[in-house]
């Protein structure tokens, strides 16, 4: 599958409601930050909405329209201010208890029961992640700042989806650093000078998850 098709597939699966909890948070934040993705989602929801209206009928046995009428005012669990879905869940990003993995590189893991791991990554300006690939897919969404790798520059609202064939070295941009939301289907495999050490670290860490 090409890159655009993989991104579209994420949006279609979000619209159909078939994503797991971690990918769903990821996709909702992506849609919030990226108006093009949101528009694509709206179109696809429109297609699914048409399918609902042309769907076959199943006989309603117990309920009546009057059962659905209540005069309780609607309540909103969230205040409609300008924070993104991810900050609705974890709170303001600058108040998180970030865990330093190495100098200039911090993580915050979201404790969500899912087979995918979802975490926030904070990279200081100019900091890079050693070259690595992935056993499963990796999804990265830029929440703030930007990063570059061998494939281009990624700004706020951009996503990158990598499969096991892609090896890359993300570097946070010099002037602003970068905060990303990341999903890994399985742990990354590191290469290069510190590769074996980082792979061992990942292996040991997996026991404490």
């Amino acid at each position: 599958m090409n890159g655009t098709l993989v991104k579209n597939r994420l949006i279609f699966d979000f619209a159909s409601g078939s994503l797991g909890p971690a990918k769903s948070i990821f996709a909702s934040t992506y849609l919030y930050l990226n108006s093009k993705a949101k528009s694509l989602n709206n179109t696809f929801e429109g297609i699914l909405g048409d399918q609902l209206f042309s769907n076959e009928n199943s006989e309603i046995k117990k309920i009546k329209y009057s059962d659905c009428i209540s005069n309780k005012p609607s309540k909103n669990s969230f205040n409609s201010n300008e924070s993104s879905p991810i900050t609705k869940i974890v709170g303001p990003l600058n108040e998180l208890d970030w865990k330093q993995i190495y100098r200039g590189f911090k993580e915050f893991s979201l404790k969500i029961e899912d087979e995918d791991e979802i975490k926030l990554i904070k990279m200081d300006p100019g900091i890079s992640v050693p070259i690595h690939s992935h056993a499963g897919k990796e999804y990265i969404l830029v929440l703030d700042g930007s990063f570059c790798d061998e494939y281009g520059k990624y700004n706020k609202g951009d996503i990158q989806i990598n499969d096991q064939k892609i090896k890359h070295t993300p570097i946070a941009c010099e002037n602003e650093g970068c905060i990303c939301l990341s999903i890994t289907e399985k742990d990354a495999i590191f290469y290069g000078r510190y590769g074996s050490f980082l792979n061992l670290f990942t292996f040991i860490r997996s026991f404490f998850k």
């Binding site: 078939s18 949101k38 709206n42 909405g49």
Partner: protein
Amino acid sequence: MIRVRDYRDELAFSDLFDFIAPKIKSYYMQNNVSSEIAEELTQEVLSTVWTKSDKYESSKSAVSTWIYTIARNKRIDLLRKNKSFDIKEEDIREFLYENNQSDKIAQGENRDQVDKINEKLDSDQRKIIKMNFFENKSHKKIAEELEIPLGTVKSRIRHTLIKLQRLL
């Protein structure tokens, strides 16, 4: 819908209920929900349509889309029940609906696109989209129901998505 929203018209709501409740129930049953739970969820969807009708904005989406998203969100939260995830996904998705100003400008274009896509997809492709994305059936299940090989299902889905991408 507008009469329900602006005038709290119960008669209009009753018509809407008669039209949409059997279709919502089918949607849940197609998604492997039992008849009884499907009816409970349908009641929840229609209750939400009544109580939150003030949230519906015709400039943002068609009625069909808005009701579909409510039904879908309740299905997701049914699946998420008893999980450690303590925030209702329904709330996040509602927040997303309410907080996107660009929708208003894009809605007309989206509607045109939906019509264009519906027109350009052939019946097999529409069926594949329905089974895969509306009924959320696995590739294996689709292969069984259509009595075609699994590989054919995967390639049909892929071709349909490529066609969709060209139309979007």
